[in-house]
C-alpha cells in the first residue's frame, strides 16, 4: 500500500507530465507547459463529465496531482463540450467541437488488420464523430486527416485489436506557448 503513495515513477518523479499516448488533457486545454500552473484543481470538469471520461490525478502524480486527464483507451471523450464551459480559469478554453485538438490519431499500419490485408475492419471509421473528414477510407483502408482529427479517442476505444492499431499522440500538448501567452505573462 505504501508504494501507492510514492511518486509514480521514482526516476521521472514529480515533474514528469502525465500526458502521453492515449493519455490526454480534456478538450481546449492550454499547452502542457503552462497547464499545471493555470489549472486550479477545482475538479469541476471531472464532475460535469457525464461519461466519466475525465479522471482527476491523485497524489502520485506530483505537481500534476488534481489535474484532469482522459485515458481514451478506457473511456474516450464524446466531445459533449460541457467541461470547457465550467472551467473557471480558462485552462480549458471555450473551443467548439471541431476545434478540439486533444491529440492526433495515428494508425499503426503494421498492426492494423485491414492494412495488413488480413481482414476487413473499419471500426475506427465507423465510430469517428467526424467520419469522412477525420478518417476516410482509401481502398477500404482507414486514413487519418490531421486537419480534422480532434483526438477524441473514440477510434482507440473502438479498435478491436490488442495492442491497439490506432493511438492518439498528444502532438499539440507540447507545442511551445504561443507568443501572446508569453507576452501576457510578461506584463
Amino acid at each position: 500500500m505504501g508504494s501507492l503513495l510514492l511518486p509514480r515513477l521514482a526516476h521521472a518523479g514529480l515533474l514528469k507530465s502525465p500526458v502521453g499516448i492515449n493519455h490526454l488533457r480534456p478538450p481546449g486545454a492550454v499547452p502542457e507547459e503552462i497547464f499545471p500552473a493555470k489549472c486550479i484543481r477545482c475538479g469541476r470538469c471531472a464532475e460535469i463529465c457525464s461519461y466519466r471520461s475525465i479522471r482527476v490525478l491523485d497524489i502520485r502524480y506530483g505537481v500534476y496531482a488534481g489535474t484532469p486527464l482522459i485515458n481514451v483507451e478506457e473511456v474516450p471523450c464524446y466531445l459533449c463540450m460541457k467541461c470547457v464551459d465550467v472551467c473557471p480559469t480558462g485552462t480549458l478554453r471555450r473551443v467548439s467541437q471541431e476545434e478540439v485538438r486533444m491529440g492526433l490519431a495515428v494508425i499503426n499500419r503494421r498492426q492494423c488488420v485491414t492494412w495488413r490485408g488480413l481482414a476487413l475492419c473499419r471500426t475506427c471509421y465507423n465510430v469517428c464523430p467526424f467520419k469522412e473528414k477525420a478518417i476516410h477510407l482509401d481502398q477500404l483502408r482507414p486514413v487519418i486527416d490531421e486537419r480534422f482529427c480532434t483526438g477524441c479517442g473514440l477510434c482507440v476505444h473502438g479498435c478491436p485489436l490488442t495492442p491497439k492499431a490506432i493511438n492518439i499522440e498528444p502532438v499539440y500538448a507540447f507545442e511551445r506557448k504561443s507568443r501572446d501567452v508569453r507576452e501576457e505573462e510578461a506584463l
Binding site: Y51, C80, L120, T123, N126, V127, C159, L161
Partner: protein
C-alpha cells in the same frame, strides 16, 4: 505448424511491401493462428456471402478463425465478425440446459432433456387435439442448417399436417424470390460472384454492401480500383453510405421512389433504342397484371411512356435530375457487362416484388444477362436463407426443391418420396410470417416452435406481436444458443449446438452449398437441432398415436447426431427431393462436399459435374447441364425454370407505387433502418464479442446536418423518435449520411429504448408478404444533451 521467427519477419516484410501497392499476397502472419493444433474447415456463420473459413483448435478449445486464400468466395478475406466468432463457442452466456416454466410470469427452472421433449410433444399434441393441426407452427431461420430446416418442415407438414412452416427469410428475401420467379421462372441468381471480376458496370441499389456484405464488396472495389477507367460503379440509395462513397455516381432519391427511377431508366433505354432486339425477340415476352396477360412490345412502350425522366426526377427528388437518369441508363445499357446488386432496400418494400421485376426488366431489355459479368444478382442477408429455406422448403408456400404447396402434382410427389399417404400435406399454404404472429395475437396459434431467430426483436412493429407472444395461452418453445428478446417470452428454452459444434450444409447467395464439419462438442447439455427434432417427433408419434409421424423420422433413427444423422438427412433431401428439380443437388453428396471445401453450385445432377464445382451460370448451354437436358431448340440460352412453361423471360409492366406510409405534417421525416459492419441482426451473437460491442455499444440515430441544425440537435444529444406505433430514445449522430428529411437507425440494439423495430411499420408486400421495414414516417425531437449509455444484452 509454428512459423520460425525468420520466416515470420520475411512474411511481414513482404506483406508490408505488398500493402503499399494494394497487392494481395496469400500469406498469413498472425501468430495466434499459427499456434492452433488443427484447423477445421467450414463457412462463416454470419452473412450470406458464404466466406470459407477455418477454425483453429488448440487443446480442444477454439482459438482462432482464419480465411483461406484459395477460397472462391472470399479469397482469404474475412471481416471482424467472421474473424472473432470463435469466442462465442465457449462464451459463459451460452445456454447449456433445457429451461422450463409453466407460466410466463414464473422463473425458469432447469429440467432434463427427457422431460423437456415430453413437455414439447405434449403441448403440441394437446393443441392439435383441441384446436386442429393449424393451431401449431414452426418459425425457423435462414441461419439454421439445411438439414435442420428440412427435418423440421418434414415433421410439421407430413407429420403434423400443417403448412405453418415459416422463417425469418420472409423478412429478408421473400421479395427477391418473388422477383426471380415472376421474371425468370426460377428462383435464385443466374450468375455467380465470379461475374464481379468480369463486369464493367455495377448497379448497386438499395444495398449498403460495404457494411452488410463487406467481403464481397471488397471484390467489387478491387475490380473498380484495378480498372478505374473501364469500370463504373453506380449506387442508388437515399442514404450516403460507405458503399456510395466509392461509387462514381450516387443517385440519392427519396425513399420509396425507386419504382419510378427504374421505370424511367427503362424509358431511356427504349426511347434511345438502347435495347437488345435479338435478346428480346428470342427470349422475352411482356406481361401485365395478376392474370399474367401477355402483351406486345408496343404495349410496353406505351406503358413506359408515362415515366419520362423529367417526371421521374420530379417524383424522386434528392439529387436526381433527368440528365442523371439518362446518363445512368446509357451506362447501364451500353457497358460491355452490367451487374446489378441489391438487398433489403429493394426487398423490404410494399412493392418489393415489383421493384425486383423492374431491375430484371433493365437486364432483359438490354440483354445484360447470361454473359460473363452480366447478371441481375440479389444478395442474401443470412448464411443459409438460400440453401435451407428457399430450397429446403422453409416457407409456408413452398415444399423442398422449389415446389409450390398449391400444385397437387408436386405435393403428391413429395408425399410419395417421403412414403406418407397422399393427402397428408394440406393443399393450402400456411400462415406467412406477419399472418402467423397475427394469429398468435388472436390466439389462433396455441403452440409455436421458434428456432434460431428472435422475432420479438426482428419483427416490424414488434410491440404489437410481443403482446401476442406474451399471452399465457400460447406455448412458446425457443431453440437457441444465447438468451434473446424471444427467450424472454418463452415457456421452454432448448439449448442448441452452435456452428462447428455440429455438421451441416449452408447454401450461400450464389447457389453454393458448403459443408461445415463438427470440430468440437457443444458445451453442457446443448444438442444439435436435428437430434432435438428427431427425438421430439418420436414423442409426438406416441402422444398423438400416429405412426406417420414416426415414419417421417424412421430413416434417421439411431444415427449419431454429430455427423451420421445430418448426413442421412442431407442424402434423403438431395437424392430424393432435389432430383429432377432446378436445384438438383444429387451430385453434392457429403463425400463430394468433403472433397471440395469450396462446395458445389447447383444444378449439380451428377457427381462428375459436382466435382467440377457445379454450375457457374444457369440456363447457358454448355455451362449448365440442365440447360442441355431441357433444351427445346438450338438457342444458346434455355430458360427451363419451373414457373414459366413457355421457357421465356418475362418483362413486367409494373406501375409506380410509393411507400405505405409517407411523411406528412404530423410525422415529417422518413425513417429507415439498417446494419453496421460490426453487428449482425439482433446482436445476440456479435454483442457478446467484446471487441465488437466496444466499437458499437449502442444504436444511434443518424440525422442530416441541415435537419439537425434546424431542430437544434447536436451530436450526442438524446433524440426522441416517434411514429404512429411507438417511440425510441436514441443518441444522435449528425452527419451527411441520410438525405435531408430522412433519419436512419441501426436495428441491432436490444435495449427497449433503442429497439427500432418497436416503431417500424408492419405493412407488407401483397405478393411476397415481406414487410416494409425500410420506410415509415416519424417525427424527431431533442430531449436532452448527451447522456452516457450502457450497452444492453438480454441475460437470463
Amino acid at each position: 505448424m509454428a512459423l520460425s521467427r525468420r520466416e515470420f519477419l520475411k512474411r511481414t516484410a513482404a506483406l508490408t511491401a505488398a500493402s503499399l501497392v494494394g497487392m494481395n499476397l496469400p500469406l498469413k502472419v498472425d501468430r495466434a493462428q499459427a499456434d492452433a493444433d488443427r484447423w477445421v474447415r467450414g463457412t462463416c456463420r454470419f452473412c450470406g456471402v458464404g466466406c470459407r473459413v477455418e477454425l483453429g483448435i488448440k487443446d480442444g478449445r477454439p482459438v482462432a478463425i482464419r480465411g483461406v486464400p484459395q477460397s472462391r468466395t472470399n479469397m482469404g478475406y474475412l471481416c471482424m465478425k467472421g474473424m472473432l466468432f470463435y469466442q462465442l463457442m465457449r462464451h459463459p452466456d451460452r445456454l447449456t440446459k433445457p429451461l422450463y416454466r409453466e407460466s410466463k410470469k414464473e422463473k425458469f427452472r432447469e429440467i432434463s432433456w427427457e422431460e423437456a421433449l415430453s413437455i414439447a410433444a405434449k403441448k403440441f399434441a394437446e393443441s392439435i387435439k383441441n384446436h386442429g393441426p393449424d393451431s401449431v407452427a414452426y418459425y425457423g431461420s435462414g441461419q439454421a442448417l439445411t438439414e435442420e430446416t428440412y427435418l423440421f418442415q418434414k415433421i410439421m407438414r407430413a407429420g403434423l399436417r400443417t403448412n405453418n412452416v415459416e422463417g425469418n427469410p420472409r423478412l429478408c428475401m421473400a421479395s427477391a424470390v418473388g422477383g426471380y420467379i415472376t421474371s425468370f421462372g426460377a428462383d435464385e441468381p443466374i450468375g455467380s460472384y465470379a461475374d464481379i471480376e468480369q463486369a464493367f458496370c455495377f448497379f448497386i441499389i438499395g444495398s449498403n454492401m460495404a457494411e452488410a456484405h463487406p467481403v464481397l464488396f471488397r471484390r467489387v472495389m478491387r475490380r473498380k480500383l484495378d480498372n478505374p477507367r473501364e469500370v463504373t460503379v453506380i449506387n442508388a440509395d437515399p442514404r450516403r453510405s460507405p458503399t456510395s462513397r466509392i461509387a462514381d455516381i450516387h443517385l440519392q432519391f427519396k425513399p420509396g421512389t425507386d419504382l419510378a427511377l427504374l421505370n424511367a431508366m427503362a424509358y431511356v433505354i427504349v426511347e434511345e433504342k438502347l435495347y437488345n432486339e435479338d435478346f428480346l425477340n428470342n427470349y422475352c415476352t411482356f406481361r401485365v397484371g395478376k392474370e399474367k396477360k401477355e402483351v406486345s412490345f408496343e404495349d410496353y412502350k406505351k406503358f413506359i411512356s408515362a415515366y419520362t425522366p423529367e417526371k421521374a426526377a420530379d417524383i424522386c427528388g434528392g439529387n436526381i435530375t433527368p440528365d442523371l437518369i439518362r446518363k445512368v441508363a446509357r451506362i447501364f445499357a451500353t457497358s460491355p457487362a452490367t451487374m446489378s446488386l441489391w438487398t433489403m432496400g429493394i426487398n423490404q418494400r410494399i412493392r418489393g416484388v415489383w421493384a425486383n421485376n423492374l431491375i430484371h426488366n433493365l437486364h432483359l431489355l438490354t440483354g445484360q444477362l447470361c454473359r460473363p459479368g452480366a447478371d441481375s444478382f440479389s444478395l442474401t442477408g443470412q448464411p443459409n436463407a438460400c440453401g435451407g429455406v428457399r430450397e429446403g422448403g422453409g416457407l409456408c408456400h413452398i415444399l423442398p426443391g422449389h415446389r409450390p404447396v398449391k400444385v397437387d402434382k408436386l405435393r403428391h410427389e413429395v408425399e410419395d418420396l417421403w412414403g406418407v399417404p397422399r393427402g397428408r400435406i394440406p393443399a393450402k399454404p400456411g400462415y406467412h410470417t406477419i399472418a402467423m404472429f397475427s394469429a398468435v395475437n388472436e390466439g389462433k396459434i396455441k403452440a409455436i416452435w421458434i428456432n434460431c431467430t428472435s422475432p420479438a426483436q426482428s419483427l416490424p412493429n414488434c410491440d404489437k406481436y410481443r403482446k401476442g407472444m406474451a399471452r399465457e395461452d400460447v406455448f412458446i418453445i425457443v431453440t437457441d444458443i444465447f438468451p434473446t428478446k424471444t427467450t424472454e417470452l418463452a415457456n421452454l428454452i432448448l439449448p442448441t449446438a452452435f456452428h462447428f459444434e455440429k455438421t451441416g450444409v449452408f447454401g450461400c447467395t450464389e447457389r453454393r452449398s458448403q459443408l461445415t464439419l463438427k470440430a468440437i462438442d457443444p458445451p453442457g447439455e446443448a444438442k444439435p437441432e436435428v437430434w432435438i427434432a428427431r427425438e421430439w417427433a418420436l414423442k409426438l408419434a406416441e402422444e398423438l398415436n400416429d405412426p406417420v409421424i414416426k415414419k417421417c423420422v424412421e430413416p434417421f433413427l439411431g444415427l449419431e447426431p454429430g455427423y451420421e444423422l445430418p448426413k442421412a438427412i442431407w442424402t434423403e433431401y438431395t437424392q430424393k427431393l432435389t432430383a429432377g428439380r432446378d436445384n438438383d443437388l444429387r451430385g453434392a453428396t457429403y463425400e463430394v462436399l468433403q472433397q471440395l471445401p469450396d462446395g458445389v453450385q447447383w444444378p449439380a445432377p451428377t457427381k462428375e459435374w459436382a466435382l467440377k464445382g457445379g454450375t457457374y451460370k444457369k440456363f447457358v448451354r454448355g455451362l449448365d447441364p440442365l440447360a442441355d437436358e431441357h433444351a427445346i431448340d438450338e438457342k444458346p440460352y434455355q430458360f427451363y425454370g419451373p414457373a414459366h412453361k413457355d421457357h421465356k423471360l418475362w418483362v413486367w409492366l409494373r406501375p409506380y407505387k410509393g411507400p405505405a406510409e409517407e411523411p406528412d405534417a404530423e410525422y415529417p421525416f422518413y425513417l429507415s433502418t439498417g446494419r453496421v459492419i460490426d453487428h449482425w441482426h439482433t446482436s445476440s451473437m456479435t454483442g457478446r464479442i467484446k471487441e465488437l460491442m466496444r466499437a458499437n455499444p449502442y444504436a444511434y440515430i443518424e440525422i442530416n446536418p441541415k435537419d439537425a441544425q434546424r431542430l437544434g440537435i447536436k451530436p450526442g444529444d438524446m433524440v426522441l423518435v416517434e411514429t404512429r406505433r411507438g417511440k425510441n430514445i436514441l443518441p444522435a449522430k449528425v452527419y451527411e449520411g441520410p438525405m435531408e428529411g430522412m433519419v436512419f437507425v441501426y436495428w441491432y440494439d436490444m435495449a427497449e429504448d433503442r429497439m427500432i423495430n418497436r416503431v417500424t411499420k408492419d405493412a407488407f408486400d401483397p405478393g411476397s408478404k415481406e414487410p416494409e421495414f425500410k420506410i415509415c414516417a416519424c417525427r424527431i425531437k431533442r430531449l436532452s444533451g448527451p447522456k452516457p449509455l450502457k450497452p444492453y444484452l438480454v441475460r437470463l
